[in-house]
Amino acid sequence: MAATRTTKKPAKKKKTSATRARSKPPARVPLVDYLVLGANGAYLRANECKSCGARFFDRRNACAACGGREFKKARVKSRGELVGFSIVHRAAPGIAVPFVSGIVDCGGTTVRANVIDVEADPEHVKLGMKLALATYVSGSDDDGTECVAFGYAPA
């Protein structure tokens, strides 16, 4: 998977070019490699078994469903339905709580991510609610490169 990575290696900049550098939009990297930051919008991309169609977000040596060894890239539908969730109030240090961890059925491919742009309480988070993929900047490194994370927001 490393070979498919397109992240630019941040180049060292001379002080004199700082002003010009600031005027450019910062470099962006996806939080995980199955999030594709396309020019026409972000989407998730899975490794799909050519034999049975099972999808995996990480690399597989052989398909866990059928044993097939050939995979192709497949674009996951960006709209989905919330089929399970937990509202997390206790987490490891440094993680903002509460947050909504959601299990989202995106047209037959199940994704786990935070449900965002919704109050984190059971009155607002409803099973069966329609959601759509959304991205946001979750942090930046010392070179100013921004990390783009994804979540699902009410559609």
Partner: protein
């Protein structure tokens, strides 16, 4: 009794709790010696030792135990299999006896967890100076809390809500009733880590960990050990009648792992492997869910117990909400579940759990459970599941002697 049958001859568990002044080897030795004494045999009668612990999986716990109770040179199988570790140790010994390689063996499960939190393993990585992809998903930041949760209360919270999504009549209150029941049951069990009853409103109102699991709906961490002596039917036949009378038949011993399901890569599926293990166990034992006088199942979180009513086929498919609402799994109901207090209140020293539940069921089948005895209990089932996943189911029956 048939010569190819397998029996529990003796069993014991330490009270579950916190033992800051003893180590895991002490706890394992206490349970092991207790089980040998209970079966009126000694370590010199054992042909095999199966020893389970999760957090000290590489410590050679079985051999350390032998140095406390007898170094007889028998083969030791140290096993580690998530929350099914104890059940795996037991099943290792059962398989050896079934294979004819042993006549009698000792299975021990132990864990010393201290006060470690349930959130361990979810530690945030130190923030990178410069983003660089790491791991199988090429993550540049820790994804815990950004792409949902992988902590246990959350994962089981999600599993519960998936069940609620698919089935009517299931919600926060049904999950909370499970914990209400198990805390109530534990008041009768002197071996339980906690023995306090809480009103349903207090269960629902206790601090929220991961909705719908509140603090009182989560099992505690703790220390403890449990052990069982297993014997072949052939060897048991040669033993005194009074020993035979207290022996408990292992009618089924099943271990499964999680088969592929589409959603399994993002949310562990605790259902399919449990349903499969139960189906195989019922078939092997020739009994059905309706024959069970008691069940000890893996209630690591209240949400989990509700799912397993369905997975173990104790209720109609999709009917777990009605099942708890009807009172069926309470100790005076039609299918008492977790009369020990369950993991939620008896405690869950991980490696010990899968043998402690065998201790519990065997004690009822022998009619020796004291205040918490389920009257005329003849058949019982034990169940554990560890994420990853591994599921152990055993069906036990009272001796017909």
């Amino acid at each position: 009794m048939s010569t190819d049958s397998v029996w529990i001859l003796g069993t014991n568990m330490t009270p579950f709790g916190r033992y800051p002044d003893r180590d895991a080897v002490d706890l394992a030795a206490a349970a092991a010696l207790g089980a040998l004494d209970d079966g009126r045999v000694t370590i010199h009668d054992m042909d095999i030792l199966g020893c389970g612990t999760l957090f000290q999986a590489s410590a050679g716990m079985g051999q350390q135990l032998q140095k406390q109770i007898g170094q007889t040179g028998i083969p030791v199988y140290n096993v580690s299999n998530a929350c099914a570790t104890g059940a795996t140790a037991l099943r290792t010994v059962i398989m050896a006896i079934k294979a004819g390689e042993a006549e009698m063996g000792l299975a021990v499960g132990v864990e010393q967890m201290g006060k470690m939190g349930l959130l361990a393993g979810a530690e945030k990585k130190p923030s990178k100076h410069v983003f660089a992809p790491e791991g199988r998903y090429g993550a540049v930041q820790s994804v815990d809390g950004l792409l949902g949760t992988a902590t246990m209360p959350g994962v089981f919270g999600q599993a519960g809500m998936q069940y609620a999504h698919d089935n009517d009549g299931v919600g926060f209150e049904q999950f909370a009733k499970v914990a209400y029941k198990n805390h109530k049951h534990s008041t009768l069990n002197p071996l339980a880590q906690y023995r306090k009853e809480f009103p349903l409103a207090d269960v629902m109102g206790s601090p929220m960990m991961s909705y719908p699991n509140t603090l009182l709906m989560c099992c505690p961490t703790g220390d403890g050990a449990a052990a069982a002596v297993v014997v072949s039917g052939e060897r048991l036949q040669s033993m005194p009648k009074r020993v035979q009378k207290r022996a408990v038949k292992v009618s089924a011993s099943v271990l499964t792992s999680d088969p592929y399901v589409e959603s399994g890569q993002v949310q562990p599926d605790v259902n399919t492997l449990t349903r499969r293990a139960a189906t195989e166990a019922y078939e092997a034992a020739g009994v059905g869910p309706e024959d069970l006088d008691l069940v000890e199942l893996h209630d690591c979180f209240a949400t989990a117990e509700l799912l397993h009513y369905d997975n173990l086929q104790l209720c109609e498919e999709g009917g777990a909400g009605d099942f708890i609402d009807s009172g069926a799994p309470f100790r005076d109901g039609s299918t008492p579940v977790n009369v020990s207090g369950g993991l939620i209140s008896k405690g869950h020293p991980i490696g010990a759990t899968g043998i402690a539940n065998v201790y519990e069921v065997a004690t009822h089948l022998r009619g020796e459970a004291g205040d918490r005895q389920i009257k005329r209990a003849k058949v019982g089932l034990t169940h554990v599941i560890g994420l990853g996943s591994s599921c152990g189911v055993h069906i036990l029956e009272k001796a017909a002697v």
